[in-house]
């Protein structure tokens, strides 16, 4: 089954509206869920997601989210944190313990191999020892050798960003992109995100061996407009596109 992975920034746009959308999220249609922990410097996110971080920072409330973490876990939805290493490096042990306590499966750290390359191997090996999934985050700018080396440190799925940041529309060659990553990492589960724009893109990504998609910016826009029906319809439609 192809993976559908919605993304939410915790605390955005406020806790009551976030909870409302988490309440109506059709869990039977999704596989994983990605929670962005608000960052002071979400440098590899585009303007839409960046805004959610600055707002989410002031609304973050662990007590509000814990019941949802429990709810998704009980519904067999794997939870992943999207966190910037710049935010968690000084409290890494505490943060990973918090995620594990809330039964997250793993973590995506978009700035780890870019801004903290020399530390990255140690961090990944540390997560492996804890039995916590490190999800490698790669982009078109990641050199071939790095993709191979980092991916070899983990058995988890791969997050491949199609764009330099979320919600950006730089032209990219879809077929060549998928061919490259499939060649470098044959047989690995590759999930695409960061700038997926159309159903057609999703179909082609799946046709070329992709194992799923992560959707963020588009959902934020629907949450912003309070479009609950559109949100549910969109998730259902995405499920259909992935399963087509």
């Amino acid at each position: 089954m192809k993976k559908l992975i919605p993304y939410f920034t915790l605390g955005y746009p406020d806790n009551s509206r976030l909870c409302r959308f988490l309440d109506i999220l059709p869990v039977e249609k999704i596989n994983y869920i990605e929670f962005g922990f608000p960052s002071d410097d979400p440098r590899y996110d585009g303007p839409v997601i960046r805004k959610t971080h600055s707002v989410g920072n002031s609304n973050f409330s662990d007590s509000v989210y814990s019941k949802y973490f429990d709810y998704f876990y009980k519904n067999h939805i794997k939870m992943y944190s999207l966190s910037y290493f710049s935010d968690i490096k000084d409290r890494f042990d505490e943060f990973i313990a918090y995620l594990q306590k809330n039964r997250f499966s793993g973590i995506i750290i978009p700035d780890l191999i870019i801004d903290y390359f020399s530390e990255s191997r140690g961090v990944i090996e540390d997560l492996n020892k804890r039995g916590f999934e490190y999800i490698p985050f790669f982009s078109p700018a990641t050199p071939d050798s790095i993709i191979k080396n980092v991916a070899s440190l983990t058995d988890s799925w791969i997050y491949y960003g199609l764009q330099p940041s979320t919600g950006i529309e730089i032209p990219y060659e879809l077929d060549y992109t998928t061919e490259r990553i499939n060649t470098l990492l044959p047989g690995r589960e590759i999930t695409y995100g960061f700038g997926i724009k159309s159903d057609e893109d999703i179909k082609n990504l799946m046709k070329n061996g992709g194992s799923g998609v992560a959707i963020g910016t588009y959902l934020v826009k629907m949450i912003d407009s309070g479009d609950e029906k559109g949100f549910v319809d969109y998730i259902n439609r995405m499920r259909g596109v992935l399963d087509a």
Binding site: I114, D144, I170, Y172, Y176
Partner: protein, 417 residues
């Protein structure tokens, strides 16, 4: 159809170093919270240029139309053994120089101007615009635009505009329109003029003006340097050099080039990066712009207005205003991210040379090889001469990129030679 006997020396593809870097290249970053300067690139760059900026392809096919023009403007450029210089220095090894001054516009800049203008023309836009320091890039832009029937609006750093009137003549001959920057053509230029009426101008201001002009006039912005795509296009220099050395049965032990934003240097040296670490590579900057020794490796603004995305690079700060030095092409505060990464990793060494060293090197090179090199290129020659003096008894093959000629820069020598 290209029929030149030299065609075999010209590469069929541009080389992009990104897939071969030892660590991931930090992506561009928006400099403002609520605005996507990365998306802005969508509006000001030709789509194909943008695609090539963010591509991970190791090789990008050079369109036939671009190959034709490369040939027309003098590619492949010569690789010449500097025997007279070797003799003058008493060097046991060999010195070669790749002479980009042999192109129609007299520098390497045309190598990326042609494809960028070509892709702009294919999009049917109103024209192209850019900034220029010493005028080499402006000349290349004006000619490339003219070759494809496009108008070119060029913002030339004011101090260079005043010091190098003949550059303006050259650009005008190529049908380019040139104004000193800061100018009254843009809101940003007017603002700077109001706040700092005596400013000599900077490349950063010029970039900001050109970007604003592109947005307001449906022009496309031409990327002189720093951004990866320009280094990719410039890879024709290094690829030709490799081929020419191969034909001569030679191997480069040392590569030396000068760095403004990094385009001639990256284009010259990056094709050698996949071959391993055996070739020593040295990047030379002006003593007055010590970006590698005193700059920070950090995200910083490409242009002073913060219109373009921030890049992670060695930088002296976007508001850095260098002295009114004799080599306008080396006044830029930063350097390309890929070059900066390789400097930071220690794969590429850096050097700084003084004005007197550069002038001595230019004189020596003119007296021995007959070539009056550009002041920018003089930095690379000075580093090469210093290298030879320090390794006199070694038997190395040194290759220097002489990125342009200095026939329009003679004023740096003053009245008395």
């Amino acid at each position: 159809m290209i029929t030149s006997v030299n065609r075999d020396i010209m590469p069929e593809n541009w080389y992009n170093v990104v897939p071969d870097l030892p660590e991931p290249l930090a992506p561009p970053r928006d400099s403002k919270q609520d605005f996507s300067s990365i998306n802005l690139l969508n509006k000001i760059l030709p789509k194909e240029v943008l695609k090539q900026e963010f591509t991970f392809r190791r090789y990008e096919k050079i369109p036939d139309e671009v190959m034709e023009q490369y040939e027309q403007i003098g590619r492949p450029t010569p690789l010449i053994r500097a025997r007279n210089l070797e003799k003058h220095l008493g060097y046991r090894g060999k010195i070669f120089y790749k002479y980009e001054g042999a192109t129609a516009t007299g520098s390497h800049k045309i190598n990326t101007a042609i494809p960028q203008a070509y892709y702009a023309m294919k999009e049917g836009v109103n024209g192209v615009t850019t900034e220029t320091g010493a005028g080499q890039w402006g000349s290349a832009t004006a000619l490339a635009a003219s070759l494809y029937g496009l108008p070119a609006q060029i913002f030339m750093v004011r101090i260079s505009f005043e010091q190098k009137p003949l550059r303006k003549t050259v650009m005008n001959l190529y049908n380019g329109n040139v104004v000193p920057s800061p100018s009254t053509l843009t809101e940003y230029g007017r603002k700077i003029l109001k706040e700092h009426p005596d400013t000599p101008g900077t490349l950063g201001i010029g970039i900001s003006e050109a970007v604003e002009y592109a947005l307001d006039h449906d022009y496309r912005y031409m990327v002189a340097s720093v951004m990866n795509v320009s280094l990719t296009h410039q890879s024709v220099i290094g690829q030709e050099t490799k081929k020419q050395l191969e034909i001569l049965g030679e191997h480069a032990d040392v590569l030396i080039g000068c760095v403004g934003g990094g385009s001639n240097f990256g284009g010259f040296t990056f094709p050698f990066i996949p071959d391993g670490d055996e070739t020593e590579i040295i990047a030379t900057t002006a003593d007055e712009v010590p970006k590698f020794s005193r700059g920070d490796y950090k995200y910083d603004l490409v242009d002073s207005a913060g219109v373009l995305p921030e890049l992670r690079m060695y930088s002296l700060g976007a508001d850095f205003v260098p002295p009114t030095i004799y080599a306008g092409g080396l006044r830029y505060h930063g350097a390309s991210p890929s070059l900066s990464l390789l400097i930071n990793r220690g794969r590429i060494k850096s050097d700084e040379v003084t004005e007197s060293e550069v002038k001595d090197a230019l004189r020596t090179f003119a007296n021995t090889q007959g070539i009056i090199a550009a002041p920018e290129s003089g930095h690379a020659i000075a580093t090469a001469i210093n290298y030879v003096k320090a390794h006199r008894n070694e038997n190395k093959t040194i290759v220097v990129n002489v990125s342009g000629h200095g026939m329009l820069d003679l004023s740096i020598f003053g009245e008395k030679q």
